[in-house]
C-alpha cells in the first residue's frame, strides 16, 4: 500500500490543516463534465504508453487486472475549490506500468476516451504518486467518475487525474492539454494555488 491513511482509527480529526489555500471541504463527490460520458466496454478497453520514439506499450483490461494492484487513500483537490478527504481507491501504480518503458522524456500528455487531454511532468507520475485506478470506495469505478479506469494523481488539482484514461504520450517538450490550453496552469499544485496561467 502506497499511502496509508491515519483516518480509519476513529473520529475525523480537525481537517483545516489538510485544506490547501482557497479550498473548502465537501462530503459528496461532485461530477464535473466537459462533454458526454464515454461508456467504454472492458472488452475494448486498452491503455497505451507511447514513448517519444514511437514505441508502444499496451495493456488490455485482463492484462491490467493481472498486474499487482495497490490501495490508496488520498485527499482530492478540485480547481473549482472543493476538496474531499480520505477517498479510497484501488489501481495499478504508474511505476508498475512504466517499469519496462525506455524513455528520455520529461513530460507526459495523458489522453482519455472522449478526447480529453492533460499534461504533467513525467516525474509526477512516478515514485508512488500516480495510479490507473479502477475501484473507488471498494466498487467498480462509475463512468461518471471516469470508469472503467481513470488516472489518479492526487497531489495535483483533480483535472490532472484524467477520467476514462486511454493512454499516455511521453514527450521531450511540454504540450498543453485540454484545460491547460485554455488558461489553466501547466502544473497545478493545489498547495501553491496554481489554478491559472501565471499563478
Amino acid at each position: 500500500m502506497a499511502i496509508v491513511s491515519r483516518g480509519f482509527q476513529g473520529r475525523r480529526r480537525p481537517s483545516d490543516h489538510r485544506l490547501p489555500p482557497g479550498q473548502y471541504e465537501v462530503h459528496d463527490f461532485p461530477v464535473l463534465s466537459a462533454g458526454p460520458t464515454p461508456r467504454v466496454g472492458r472488452d475494448i478497453w486498452e491503455f497505451t504508453i507511447v514513448t517519444e520514439a514511437g514505441v508502444r506499450h499496451s495493456w488490455s483490461w485482463p492484462q491490467l487486472m493481472a498486474l499487482p494492484a495497490e490501495d490508496a487513500v488520498v485527499d482530492l483537490h478540485c480547481v473549482t475549490k472543493w476538496s474531499k478527504f480520505e477517498t479510497r481507491w484501488r489501481g495499478v501504480s504508474l511505476d508498475t506500468l512504466l517499469a519496462d518503458v525506455e524513455t528520455e522524456a520529461d513530460y507526459a500528455l495523458v489522453h482519455s476516451y472522449g478526447g480529453y487531454t492533460t499534461n504533467l511532468p513525467l516525474a509526477d507520475l512516478m515514485d508512488g504518486q500516480a495510479w490507473v485506478a479502477f475501484h473507488y470506495d471498494g466498487e467498480d469505478l462509475d463512468p461518471e467518475h471516469g470508469g472503467p479506469a481513470r488516472l489518479l494523481v492526487p497531489h495535483l488539482y483533480l483535472w490532472k487525474s484524467a477520467k476514462w484514461v486511454r493512454g499516455i504520450q511521453l514527450l521531450l517538450q511540454d504540450e498543453p492539454g485540454f484545460w491547460e490550453s485554455a488558461g489553466y496552469h501547466d502544473y497545478g499544485d493545489p498547495w501553491r494555488e496554481q489554478r491559472y496561467q501565471g499563478d
Binding site: V31, S33, P36, T37, T80, G167, W179, G183, Y196, Q197
Partner: protein, 107 residues
C-alpha cells in the same frame, strides 16, 4: 447518445466509443458569460462547425460546465466548438471549432 467520429492514429478508439449525454444546457447559457466580452448577443450568431460543417446558431450548442470552464459542443458531431474559462482576472476564449461566426448587426 452521441458519436464523435474523428479518429486519431496515436490512440485507436480514443473517440469512437459509445457516449451517454451528461448534464448540459443549450447555448443560451453562454449569453451571460459572453456578455462580459462582447457587446452584442453572440448566442444568435450563426457558426459553421469545423468538425462536421453544419451551420447553426450558437444557442443550439450543447454547453457543459460551468467548472473548470464552459465547453460548448456541436449538437450534431460532439466536437468542441467554443470554450470559455473565467478566472484569475482574465477570460480565455477558444473558438477552435467554429469556421466563422456570422453576427447580425443590422443596417
Amino acid at each position: 447518445m452521441s458519436q464523435v467520429t474523428q479518429t486519431t492514429q496515436l490512440f485507436p478508439h480514443e473517440l469512437d466509443v459509445p457516449y451517454v449525454e451528461g448534464d448540459h444546457e443549450d447555448g443560451n447559457a453562454l449569453a451571460g458569460p459572453l456578455s462580459e466580452i462582447f457587446t452584442v448577443d453572440v448566442t444568435s450568431a450563426e457558426g459553421r462547425c469545423v468538425g462536421c460543417g453544419v451551420t447553426g446558431p450558437v444557442a443550439r450548442l450543447h454547453v457543459y460546465g460551468p467548472g473548470p470552464g464552459l465547453v460548448a459542443r456541436c449538437p450534431d458531431c460532439g466536437e468542441v466548438v467554443l470554450r470559455l474559462v473565467r478566472g484569475g482576472g482574465a477570460a480565455w476564449l477558444d473558438l477552435r471549432g467554429v469556421v466563422s461566426l456570422r453576427i447580425g448587426l443590422g443596417e
